[in-house]
């Protein structure tokens, strides 16, 4: 026998442990996507004092940026937790009406035409907190 019993056990343990990765590694592009999207989103929210219809190009631009960030993270293996966070931010779900922070803001803006600076400021704080959570998780991931 080439390998003794204890060493075989040790090697088996190593192989078993090595196959147990839980979460994606840190990704610089994903981090930058989240930061850029946060900045663009908050900048767009300032424009909500203007009519929704007058800002449709800017809204479409930010929505596209969000979609790109989401799709990038969706394509990464073992990245379900980050994707669930994006879902809370971006996806409406009738079973969870509190979710979809961003589409709920857009819908209120669309319905109301314009929004008050106080409400916009409150919403910006909430959206910033949501983005910060995504950014903090990405930044906390292990470097490969």
């Amino acid at each position: 026998m080439l390998v003794s019993e204890p060493l075989r056990g040790l090697l088996l343990a190593v192989f078993l442990l090595a196959s147990c990765s839980n979460i994606a590694f840190y990704d610089q592009a994903a981090y930058a996507n989240a930061v850029d999207t946060k900045v663009q989103t908050l900048a767009l929210m300032n424009l909500a004092v203007n009519p929704y219809s007058s800002q449709s190009a800017e809204i479409a631009g930010v929505n596209l940026q969000m979609q790109k960030a989401y799709e990038y993270d969706r394509g990464r293996p073992m990245n379900q937790t980050t994707l669930q966070m994006w879902d809370v931010l971006l996806k409406t779900d009738p079973e969870h009406p509190d979710e979809g922070l961003w589409p709920r803001f857009l819908e209120r803006w669309r319905k109301s035409g314009t929004l008050s600076p106080v409400f916009i400021s409150d919403k910006k704080e909430h959206l910033a907190t949501a983005f910060d959570a995504i950014i903090a998780l990405e930044s906390g991931k292990n470097r490969s």
Partner: protein
């Protein structure tokens, strides 16, 4: 057959120390974050109530902003879940390093 001897006591001590370091740090991080989050929510709810009373926001806007709190709590929980997954990976990788070192040093 070569005489291969692994110091299992040393391996288990090192793995236990690694787990203690990583998970104590994680528990402290999660506790600090949870306290910060709760303080932030408390401050925000007080502010929103004052704004509602002062007529700066409508009841509908107030309800919408309160709904955000639930979503943000979910985000915070997911962040903590993710950071705990990171800590588990750190432990696993650290344990692999310890085991590999033990294996290498056991080979005569």
């Amino acid at each position: 057959m070569p005489n291969i001897k692994v110091d299992w006591n040393q391996v288990s001590r090192e793995v236990a120390k690694l787990g203690e370091d990583i998970f104590q740090k994680r528990i402290k991080g999660a506790t600090d974050d949870a306290l910060d989050f709760l303080k932030k929510v408390e401050k925000d709810v007080i502010k929103l109530n004052l704004q509602l009373t002062a007529g700066q926001i409508t009841k509908e806007e107030f309800d919408d902003l309160m709904s955000d709190q639930k979503a943000l709590a979910k985000m915070e929980a997911l962040k903590q879940k993710g950071l705990t997954q990171v800590a588990i990976d750190q432990f696993v990788n650290g344990a692999i390093d310890i085991l590999v070192s033990a294996a290498i040093s056991a080979i005569p």
